[in-house]
């Protein structure tokens, strides 16, 4: 019971945040909201989760949850790595530009 409440609160927060926040893609916003809403529903109807799992060929509902979680975590990590790489490239461009703009020349004529 307590677990269900906590899980509902978590999914509920995600649902609320996704509804309030601005997303670059509307599709992503809807996907996150659908996912969170489904989370709340399945927390209180675990049997439905099992039915869904059997429909897609996975034994138990809990197994399906594990697979889905792994997949989402994996995608999140990939997205984070790509974001970090992009910001690294931007940092390099910035630092390089700055280095050229602020280059120091030696006292002797010419350098």
């Amino acid at each position: 019971m307590i677990v269900s409440l906590v899980a509902s609160a978590l999914f509920g927060s995600v649902l609320f945040l996704a509804a309030v926040r601005k997303f670059t893609f509307l599709g992503l916003k809807l996907a996150v909201m659908t996912f969170a809403a489904a989370g709340v529903y399945f927390v209180w109807n675990p049997d439905q989760m099992t039915r869904l799992a059997q429909m897609v060929g996975v034994g138990r509902g809990a197994d399906l949850v594990t697979y889905a979680t792994t997949l989402i975590l994996f995608l999140t990590v990939v997205a984070a790595i790509m974001r970090e790489r992009r910001s690294n490239e931007v940092l390099t461009l910035l630092v390089r530009r700055l280095a050229i703009q602020q280059a120091r020349f030696p006292d002797a004529p010419g350098g």
Partner: protein, 225 residues
């Protein structure tokens, strides 16, 4: 011979304070020098300036690839007709670099690449020889360039070649990247024998074997152009 104002040596330096001024002074009678201080924590920048080089400072350490690209951009902005990439730790020989420049001009080449295996090596550790030979084979397989050496930091690029080659690999994989661009751009290149002197200082500063794993990782998963 008077100093060639259109010839620029680009030296990437990370914590090379003890040697950099001496290395710069070896070049300044012949050519202009830009030292790119790659976020060093020591006095590399000041030492290089005292030695008579222009100094461009990367405020955050970005790696040798990023430093070389910065130096090349700076040299081009100063009107360089030829660019020499040169190591900061005194491994390379200035006279040989000047020979390479002369050859680049005389034969109208886009790039002249130093080869320690056509030339001589002084005190080269056996393990390093094996790693570099492996890199040579790797280069031949991936770019089709039939080199005798890979990852040699001594190169001469014509202005056109320096403008075309864009280093996107921030760290050490830039050596492979430069070669693959030379192949892709169909640049006219030659290898030239050079002497690499492995002093105690350069060995302490140079590439560790473990770095080659990082380089391979950068090539496989690093930035794509």
């Amino acid at each position: 011979m008077p100093r060639d104002e259109s010839l620029w040596f680009v030296i990437a330096a990370f914590n090379e304070g003890p040697m950099i001024a001496e290395v710069v002074r070896g070049v300044t009678p012949h050519a202009r020098v830009v030292v790119v201080d790659d976020g060093s924590s020591d006095d590399t920048g000041d030492q290089a300036l005292a030695g008579g080089a222009c100094v461009a400072t990367l405020l955050v350490n970005r790696g040798q690839g990023a430093a070389l690209q910065t130096g090349i951009d700076f040299a081009l902005s100063q009107g360089a007709a030829h660019v020499v990439t040169f190591d900061a730790d005194g491994q390379h020989n200035v006279d040989e670099a000047l020979e390479m420049v002369a050859r680049c001009r005389a034969e109208g080449l886009d790039a002249v690449l130093g080869s320690r295996f056509l030339g001589t090596t002084v005190n080269m550790p056996a393990l390093r020889r094996i790693v570099i030979k492996a890199a040579v084979i790797f280069t031949r397989l991936t770019t089709g360039l039939r080199l005798t050496d890979a990852h040699n930091g001594l190169r001469v690029l014509s202005r056109e070649a320096a403008r075309k080659i864009r280093i996107r690999q921030d760290r050490m994989a830039h050596a492979s990247e430069i070669l693959s661009q030379i192949a892709r751009l169909r640049l006219n290149w030659r290898e030239h024998p050079v002497t690499i002197t492995y002093s105690e200082y350069s060995l302490a500063k140079g590439q560790k074997l473990s770095n080659s794993v990082r380089i391979l990782e950068d090539i496989l998963f690093g930035a794509r152009s």
